[in-house]
Amino acid sequence: MNENPANNLEDELRRRLRPVEAPEGFTDRLMAALPAQQKPVVVPFTPKASRPSPARQFGMPAALAASLLVAVFLGMQVASDRAHDEEIARLEEQKGIAASQELMQALRVTSQKLDLAYEAVNSPPTAGDEENRS
C-alpha cells in the first residue's frame, strides 16, 4: 500500500484492474464471423408498378362501401328519430288544445252561475218571502 491511506484502495483497484488480453485468436474468429459482404447494399425504394395486393386493390372500394352503408343507416336512424319526435309533439299539442277547451267551458259555466246568483241577490223580495221570514 502506498503512503496516502485515503487513496490506497483506489490505487490498488487501478493497479489490479488493468485490462487483460483477449483470448488468443479472438480477432481472427471475429473477422470470420463477420458477414461476407462488407457493407450492406442499400437498395433505393421504388414503388412497384406491378399488380397491387388484394388488400390494396379492394381496400378502398370496401372502405367506401362501408362508409356509404354507415351513412345510410345513420340517416335512417335520424329520420326515424325525427318522425317519432314530431308525433310526440303533435299529441302534446292536441292534449293542450283539449285542455284549453275544457278550461274555457268550465269558465263559461262558472260565469253563467255567477250571473244567476247576482240576479237572485239583486231582485226585490216577493210576498211569499216575507211570510217565510215571520
Binding site: 483497484l13 487501478r14 484492474l17 487483460v20 483477449a22 483470448p23 479472438f26 480477432t27
Partner: protein, 188 residues
C-alpha cells in the same frame, strides 16, 4: 494493443473501416478488444461468456460503423455497449453474481510484482457487487473514466454514479478488513 495505442491511431482508420476495409476494422478491434473482453470477464466472471460478449459487441459495432463519429466516440461507444450488454446478460442469464472471477492466469501474469492473493480477493469482492455498481467500478478503475462519462455510458445520474463508487469502496474496504487482507490502519 492498449489504450495508448488506440489513442495514437489515425482518424483515417475509422473512415477506411467505414468504407469496407476489413483490415482497418481488424485494427480497430485489436485496439479495443482487451478493454471490451475485460469488462465482460469482470462483469460475467466467465471467460467463455466474456468472449461471447466481446464478439457480440464488435459485431454490433460492425453494423453501426456509420454512426461512429470519431475514434474517441468509438472508445466511448464500445465501453457503453459492453457494460450495458453485460448488465443485461446478468439480468437474463443464470450467471452467478458471486462466482469468483475466472482470471487466475491473467492475475498471475500481470500482478507478479504484487500480491496475487490480494488481487484475486479484490476481484472476487468486486464480483460480489450488484451489476450496476460493478459496472461503475470497472469503468472508473479499469477504464479510468470520469463520473460524467460513466453516467453517460450507463444512462444514470452523475450523483448515482458517485454514490455507487462511494458505497462500493466502503463495502470493499469493510470486506478486505474482514478478510484480514489489510490492517485496519491501512484502509480508512
Amino acid at each position: 494493443m492498449n489504450l495508448s495505442t488506440a489513442q495514437s491511431m489515425p482518424d483515417s482508420l475509422l473512415a477506411q473501416a467505414r468504407a469496407g476495409d476489413r483490415n482497418a476494422f481488424a485494427t480497430l478491434v485489436r485496439a479495443h478488444q482487451g478493454s471490451v473482453f475485460s469488462i465482460g470477464l469482470r462483469m460475467l466472471s466467465r471467460r467463455d461468456a466474456a468472449e461471447d460478449l466481446a464478439q457480440d459487441v464488435f459485431l454490433q459495432l460492425y453494423r453501426k460503423l456509420d454512426s461512429i463519429e470519431s475514434l474517441e466516440h468509438l472508445g466511448f461507444w464500445l465501453r457503453r455497449v459492453a457494460a450495458n450488454l453485460a448488465i443485461d446478460w446478468l439480468r437474463r442469464l443464470p450467471y452467478s453474481a458471486t462466482r469468483p472471477l475466472d482470471e487466475g492466469a491473467e492475475v498471475a501474469a500481470h500482478e507478479a510484482e504484487h500480491d496475487p492473493l490480494m488481487s484475486r480477493e479484490l476481484l472476487r469482492l468486486l464480483g460480489e457487487l450488484p451489476p450496476h455498481p460493478r459496472a461503475v467500478m470497472l469503468l472508473r478503475y479499469q477504464e479510468d473514466r470520469d463520473v460524467a462519462e460513466i453516467a453517460a455510458m450507463l444512462d444514470m445520474p452523475v450523483n448515482t454514479v458517485k454514490s455507487h463508487i462511494k458505497r462500493s469502496l466502503t463495502a470493499l474496504r469493510g470486506q478486505m478488513i474482514g478478510a484480514k487482507l489489510v490492517d485496519c490502519e491501512e484502509l480508512p
